[in-house]
Symmetry: C2
Subunit: 365 residues, 2 copies
């Protein structure tokens, strides 16, 4: 067996159909590049609830911990919308992030030249946009305690959550952002509401301390989250790396992705800490887009984000830079050749479905 252990979790909605196209790419690598993987596939999210009674079983967590990398699809759908809070499909991804310690969610928002026209923004506003959002992903309001809905003595309900950060949680994700900025355009925009939130005040302070002590060569800018949303929409090119907590990172990375106009193209990586003994780190790769239940099963979903997530995995978890670049180049060529799935369709291009797009990538390889 190969030493490259991969756990594949297609999930719900369009997850399985776009993952199928990745399998073709994997087969090609196996045959032509002698890069082989030890692959296990399991259920997660709603499909795991249906089959196993839980969105992410203990066994799946164990397999994920034992794997060198996890390739994730997407979870959720109307079918499971009325389930109780502690049974919902989203727990699939949330539990994996938490139990594997995947604290740094990296979400690139890149406008590819052939897709400039797909954006709802003017071409001159988005051409060349290349943003990396670093979102903290194991803390904050997603996991903070206490939380709940309580019934008061008069029968009325009160819902509450806790947004909480320890300074070490802030510092470690800030370092990921600064390290990335060093390899890019050397600018980090750290986002919070330090003017109204105490956790935001600590966030700004700690990011500033890490910057001063370790990254004086990188430019640091602090920005309120509301202003950042505005600036992303009006002048996105000003950004290089955006750093935010779990909640602001969620909203702003989706906004950054949306402004590229090609959500179906965007991969992401979520990384854990490097183990001092082995030099390894847990990592999970998934598209930015969700399970898109409205188009699931129709064979029209764009498989490119899932394929590009796999390319990220090749590069980051296995150091297979050359193979990652091959896959990315093949995607570029397919787009340059005029193939488009419905989500990125433009006049004059050829509209294709999921599997034709997947085949085209393999052909370019």
């Amino acid at each position: 067996p190969s030493n490259k252990k991969l756990l594949v979790l297609p999930g719900d909605g369009i997850g399985p159909e776009v993952m199928r196209e990745v399998r073709r790419v994997i087969d090609w690598l196996d045959r032509r590049r002698a890069v082989s993987f030890d692959i296990e596939e399991r259920l997660v999210g709603g499909s795991a609830i249906d089959a196993e009674g839980t969105p992410c079983s203990d066994e799946t967590v164990e397999k994920a911990k034992a794997a060198d990398a996890v390739l994730f699809g997407s979870v959720g759908g109307p079918k499971w919308d009325s389930l109780p809070f502690d049974k919902r499909p989203e727990l699939g991804i949330l539990r994996l992030r938490k139990e594997l310690g995947l604290f740094a969610n990296l979400r690139p928002a890149v406008v590819l030249d052939p897709l400039v026209e797909a954006s709802s923004l003017k071409p001159e506003v988005v051409r060349g946009v290349d943003i990396m959002v670093v979102r903290e992903s194991t803390g904050g309001v997603y996991f903070g305690e206490p939380r709940g809905i309580e019934t008061l003595p008069d029968g009325k309900r009160r819902g509450f959550d806790t947004d909480v950060y320890h300074e070490d949680e802030i510092a470690r994700v800030a370092r990921v952002a600064f390290d990335l900025a060093r390899q890019r355009r050397k600018k980090v925009t750290s986002v919070e509401k330090a003017n109204v939130m105490q956790s935001g005040r600590l966030w700004r302070a700690v990011v500033g301390e890490v910057h001063k002590a370790e990254y004086a060569d990188v430019e640091l800018e602090n920005m309120y989250a509301d202003n950042c949303a505005m600036q992303l929409c009006s002048r996105p090119k000003q950004f290089d790396v955006i750093l935010g907590n779990n909640l602001f990172g969620d909203v702003l990375s989706d906004l950054a992705a949306a402004l590229t106009g090609s959500l179906g193209m965007l991969p992401s990586a979520t990384l854990g800490a490097v183990d001092a003994a082995t030099g390894k780190r847990h990592a999970l790769y998934e598209p930015i887009h969700g399970s898109a239940p409205d188009i699931a099963g129709k064979g029209i979903a764009n498989p490119l984000a899932q394929i590009l997530s796999f390319a990220m995995l090749l590069r980051w978890s296995f150091g297979l830079e050359e193979d990652a670049a091959l896959v990315e180049a093949a995607v570029g060529k397919v787009l340059a050749g005029g193939l488009r799935t419905a989500d990125i369709m433009q006049p004059g291009m050829a509209r294709v479905g999921t599997s034709v797009m997947g085949e085209a990538v393999v052909r370019e390889l």
Copy 2:
């Protein structure tokens, strides 16, 4: 003295200079329409800190409570950035919202036809956009307790906030949103993260209950906040009224404002409950834009958002529909005539400063 008691709070940055233009409009109304006001002007925010040692004195709060309406400018600036959390200029507006019970912050994002080109989005995407964001503004993470930064036994810091909503707080602001939708296109999009937050789960439940019991004629759509940010950017025309908590409402209303491309044009209103005895409600009117310290004092700020905030005040607090419409029409004519401040400047138009713009509005009146 007139029975129209107005408290004017210009605040910091460009606040005083844009408020000066409103005073011209008020003078005109006084002279030509015999609509006169009993006006008091006071300091708020950073300028109040400098002069009175507090961003919003008890006396200012008392005057605001006694007034029929408050016209607010904007607060904050780098000069006060290093002040302790409980001394910052932002407390000026936060304290007023809280003490006057101004729980419903109404933030329209309208793309005016002559300004379609000012948007960073494509004209076909934004032409005709007319969104009203209703933001809850006295609850949630802005005021929730406990909150603070604590030092743990090992000397490390931990920052925390509480995002909390009582069902009555949700229901009353939902009613404001549904009532507005009834006068508009009859659709409310309620935004939360019910998939990760307990307060969001309660939010969704209560909005659904109010809808079912009282507003079945209005369409209700529930949307996650991350998805809403995305949809605002890619297909803004789908929205009529957007309803969100204090934090999501803050970020999403700024995003909605940004996509119009004319932030300097957008007014807002923040309303309290209707007093059962007097039929009156507290109300504060302010532009969406901030204090813009970078351009303050240069005479180039756009005074139209502040003038339009005053028009909202005429209509909503005093029922002076005709006068409000006069002011709005004057603004429309000035724009149609080609005058532009720097923020909305477009090729072929005439660039003017703050006071020329203010004068032009009065001339059109």
